[in-house]
């Protein structure tokens, strides 16, 4: 059974490669700023977007995109303007996002809340041709933004105060980071699912940093691991006939476990050398 023989599989594979590529690139900044759960918050908010799309009969990808980007601005606003800690601001998004998603989906005529499942855990068959064009465009946009602002994002994630004294607009960069996370969530929601998509931002980064010594090598290795986990997980899900989200995340977690074990002898060797 050749999995490339199916159009839907080709589209799913391309989508998986895209999310495996850009998710760790954003994740590396989130992990550095200790905002690992931001992607999850965005995922929950995007769920409200999907529910809204069901209710209004609009296309899920753009609706989720708009909702998630609004969520990104909202969370930065809450973090700066109110006396709310970052984790509490995230918690508010989690609850509101899930509640809104299930509520709107339940209200939608002809769609049971159960059709949310494909968006929660990913599906092989839901990547439409039009989606694919949108996903490619979003990925290209993310890469261009990173090429322009990547170094400033790096400086901010290293030390916000020093970055500010270097003239970098720290708040604008934080908001940009949240918006980029929102875009990644939407790119990944079809294949990986909204509840697990942020794992592809975080787990490959966590795995890579076990053995790397610099930011750039962490980002590079994380991208390689992200693409590997996406493709391997997707292929597995095709043959085993389970949703792709869980298999992709489990493969990613497998690379983490492997590199964490590998790191012990590597660190020992480096200590001897230095």
């Amino acid at each position: 059974m050749n999995l490339f023989a199916y159009d839907f599989m080709q589209r799913a594979l391309i989508a998986a490669v895209l999310v495996g590529l850009i998710a760790p690139l954003i994740g590396v900044f989130l992990v550095q700023r200790r905002l690992s759960l931001l992607g999850d918050g965005m995922g929950h908010v995007a769920l409200t977007g999907v529910g809204l799309a069901f209710l209004l009969g609009t296309a899920p990808v753009p609706t989720a995109m708009v909702t998630a980007v609004i969520g990104a601005f909202l969370i930065e606003f809450i973090r700066y303007r109110s006396r709310t800690a970052g984790d509490v601001a995230l918690a508010l998004l989690f609850y509101g996002g899930i509640a809104g998603g299930v509520l709107f989906a339940s209200l939608a005529p002809g769609k049971a809340a159960s059709s949310l499942n494909a968006y929660l855990f990913g599906s092989l068959t839901t990547v439409a041709g039009a989606d694919l064009i949108a996903l490619v465009a979003l990925c290209v946009a993310v890469l261009i933004v990173l090429a322009i602002f990547g170094r400033e994002l790096f400086a901010v994630s290293l030390d916000t105060e020093i970055a500010q004294v270097q003239g970098i607009k720290v708040r604008a960069m934080s908001t940009l980071m949240a918006v980029l996370a929102a875009v990644v969530v939407v790119v990944g929601m079809r294949v990986v699912g909204l509840l697990l998509v942020s794992a592809i931002m975080i787990v490959p980064v966590a795995a890579a940093q076990q053995i790397t010594r610099s930011f750039i090598s962490t980002a590079t290795l994380a991208v390689a691991l992200g693409v590997f986990a996406s493709v391997a997980g997707l292929t597995t899900s095709f043959y085993v006939e389970v949703p792709p989200g869980p298999t992709i995340v489990l493969v990613a977690l497998g690379t983490f476990a492997f590199l964490a074990l590998l790191a012990v002898p590597i660190r020992k060797r480096r200590r001897v050398l230095t």
């Binding site: 602002f149 400086a155 500010q164």
Partner: protein, 255 residues
Amino acid sequence: MSVIDVERACVEFDGDHVLENIDLRIEAGEFVALLGPNGSGKSTLVRAILGLQPLEHGRVRLFDEPLGRFSDWSRIALVPQRLPGTNSIPVSVWETVTSGRITPRSRFKRVGKEAKAAAQLALTEVGLWPRRHDRLETLSGGQQRRVLIARALATSADLLVMDEPTAGIDAENLTHLVHLLGELHKQGVTVLVVTHELTDIEHLVTRAIVLGEDRTGTIRYDGPPPVPASFADAVHHHDDHPHDQSAAPTGLTPR
């Protein structure tokens, strides 16, 4: 030309005056030591000057421009007291040093040869060029501090602001660092150093400012060194406090 111009600056934390009516003008080419006991507002004043701490009243001008309109941040380099301590991704020594030149103006430019050469020179100066590929966290506290100094040196700033730069640095490297600061000063760089330890840099300092009385931030002495004996409580000398732990930043103890 004045590099730093502070007028009637007031900072309050929950109703407590941390800085009260500070007037301070630093001209180009000065080497200023900012002294005072813990809690006297030294760091707060520096943060206010750099726009990191909002003022209750008063105003700050940098290079003759109001702080709000000042944009030429590449002219200023800050050596913080410690690493923020939030890094969880590995960052190499090299990446840390080269990050000092990242500004919105460098957005569409590649990292040039000049920047790389400056970073290499700065790392060589602080004696850490062989460690450039290592994770910053694997260095000792004193070495990390030297990396932060190298980051500032690798910029082409003409105002160098340093918060306790000599704390935790061993004797050999300290001698070299002090020599380096002297060279920079000779080249025309304006230096503002927040410190407890005047001994090592006293010969370079052209002006000493002592801050703080009853923990409120006012200027008690402003003039050339040596600081009069009546303000001795604000200045630690090696002999007085051979094991002064309060001066060592907690985040930078060697692992």
